[in-house]
């Protein structure tokens, strides 16, 4: 059987034709990556590391210059499968304001379904289902501009979800939200993943990446780490070398370990940290 998502030695560059002579900026360099069905993958990297470009390779917005990207065996270069690929891999962007098309919430969620020619009664059913999944059903007749950032982003997710994609790629979906909105989106993402949707989360928040099942670290167009969050974050020095941080709790435990406390070096969540410290204090 085919792998779900398979990136085979993909290279991508932006060409600036207005420069004289045209300059070429290679942002993805010979990247190979497989993603299995149902995974929750976080892609980390500082600005300009190529993580957003990598996301756009996954649903044929960007086509690799060399190498291939296969979605369920469909090559993104194959134009006849374009809409099948986009139906399989949905995409949510950073700014919710710039991805909402309609002036009524439910009309926006219906947009993708209208485009792919779904029957009206089926659209109704799927729109309601998607809105319930993201917890925005009660707002279906509201105007999007009157909602909060987190709510708007959930509408955008519902708009993609209505297509019933098997994978949703999110390009920094929480970057423009306040802490409350960020929490809303993270819990929506986790629920979606639990219901079987593959999630690729592009982010630069370490706390968000720590909640994923697998973390891919990008630097300068290359994958430099690809492992479980615990193992990736225990390499604090390497992460700091490429301009990234580790979650605050990891930083704290590493500092405590240096001071001679006996703690595991792969703590990535606050709860874990509290538990371990409690154990240590009880031992006295």
């Amino acid at each position: 059987m085919d792998k779900f998502i398979e990136i085979k030695g993909a290279t991508f560059s932006y060409v600036d034709e207005y420069d004289d002579p045209p300059t070429k900026n290679t942002v993805i360099k010979n990247v190979s990556l497989d993603i299995d069905r149902g995974e929750f993958v976080a892609v980390l990297g500082h600005n300009g590391s190529g993580k957003s470009t990598l996301a756009k390779l996954l649903n044929a917005i960007n086509l690799p210059e060399s190498g291939d990207v296969l979605i369920e065996g469909m090559n993104t270069k194959d134009e006849s499968r374009l809409y099948d690929i986009r139906k399989t891999v949905g995409m949510v962007f950073q700014n919710p304001d710039n991805q909402i098309v309609a002036t009524v919430v439910e009309e926006d969620v219906a947009f993708a379904l209208e485009n792919i020619g779904v029957e009206p009664s089926e659209i109704r059913r799927r729109v309601d289902e998607a809105l319930k999944t993201v917890g925005m059903y009660d707002y279906r007749e509201h105007a999007p501009h009157k909602l909060s950032g987190g709510q708007k982003q959930r509408i955008a997710i519902a708009g993609v979800l209505a297509m019933k994609p098997e994978c949703i790629v999110m390009d920094e979906p929480t970057a423009m939200l306040d802490p409350i909105g960020r929490r809303e989106i993270m819990s929506t993402i986790k629920e979606l993943n639990a219901s079987g949707v593959t999630i690729v989360l592009i982010t630069h928040y370490m706390e968000e990446a720590a909640q994923a099942g697998r973390v891919v670290v990008m630097n300068d167009g290359e994958v430099i780490a690809d492992d479980t969050p615990k193992r990736v974050f225990s390499q604090a020095e390497m992460l700091k070398g490429v301009g990234l941080d580790v979650p605050d709790v990891t930083d704290l435990t590493h500092a405590l370990i240096k001071e001679g406390l006996k703690l595991p070096d792969d703590i990535i969540s606050e709860d874990e940290c509290v538990d371990e410290l409690y154990k240590l204090l009880k031992k006295g």
Binding site: I61, E106, I116, V118
Partner: protein, 269 residues
């Protein structure tokens, strides 16, 4: 502050006028306009008034709103009124001073034209009061869709209107932000001559345009990701369906139009 501006003056409601098919409502508005222009006598115009009043009463929109809609066009009414008063020189002379001559015909035409313009504005604003902009756009798309045969871009025009409507509040909010940012840096937009104030708008408009283009690019990308490829093979969440009440409304409107034609012939004034 600017955020409070409402675009299109839609009053949500559930009256029979609200529930009419928007395509039918557009058709009714056209019949009504024809009615007003066919009428030559005050009695015939009276039929138009009755039609308008019945529609307003059925819609549940306060009559006050009807008067409010006339307010912005008062200067136009005055202007045409004065022109008619002074430039029509047929009929019995009511008043003459040097070369200024006011005749009975002039007075009559002035009152007639003013009434007609007022009725026109009231009727068309009832359409926007009872139909949301998005529904109206939808109706326009469907009415124009037969023209697709001659390559008329009905879907594209409707889509552009929808997106424009969607982005008005967003861009207003953005203007507010840019204005605050420029004020915080000492920009002065409230004093000085008109020319100076117009110049002060440049540092607001340029960032606004730049950001609008950036938004457009991102929106296009998001639309592509959701399989948008123009109007071909597109279905809609909300189907427009005509109900018996729609046909009844059209029948009533045609009756009124007939009444106007009859009254034109037989009414004294």
């Amino acid at each position: 502050m600017i955020k409070d501006i409402t675009i299109g003056q839609f009053f949500p409601g559930n009256s029979i006028v609200h529930r009419l098919d928007p395509r039918i409502k557009l058709l009714l508005t056209v019949i009504y306009i024809v009615m007003l222009f066919v009428a030559d006598t005050f009695c015939a115009l009276g039929a138009g008034v009755v039609f308008l009043l019945i529609s307003f009463l059925l819609s549940g929109i306060p009559i006050k709103m009807m008067l409010k809609s006339v307010k912005p066009i008062v200067p136009i009414i005055l202007f045409t009124g004065i022109l008619n008063l002074f430039f029509i020189s047929t009929g019995d002379i009511l008043f003459q001073w040097k070369f200024i001559r006011i005749t009975e015909d002039g007075v009559r035409t002035m009152i007639f034209m003013a009434t007609r313009i007022i009725l026109l504005i009231c009727g068309t604003s009832l359409l926007t009061y009872t139909t949301s902009p998005i529904t109206l756009t939808d109706a326009i798309e469907r009415i124009l869709s037969p023209l697709k045969v001659i390559k008329f871009p009905a879907h594209e025009i409707a889509m552009m209107m929808t997106i424009a409507l969607r982005f008005i509040p967003t861009l207003i909010e953005e203007t507010d932000k840019i204005m605050s940012a420029q004020k915080a840096r000492g920009a002065d937009m409230e004093t000085g001559s008109i020319l100076k104030r117009a110049k002060a708008l440049i540092p607001i408009l340029i960032p606004l345009f730049v950001s609008a283009f950036r938004r457009a690019e991102e929106l296009a990308l998001a639309m592509e990701c959701r399989c948008y490829h123009g109007g071909d093979g597109r279905t809609r969440l909300k189907q427009l369906k005509t109900a018996p009440r729609d046909y009844a409304a059209v029948a009533v409107a045609i009756l009124f139009l007939a009444a106007v034609i009859v009254l034109n012939r037989f009414s004294p004034i």
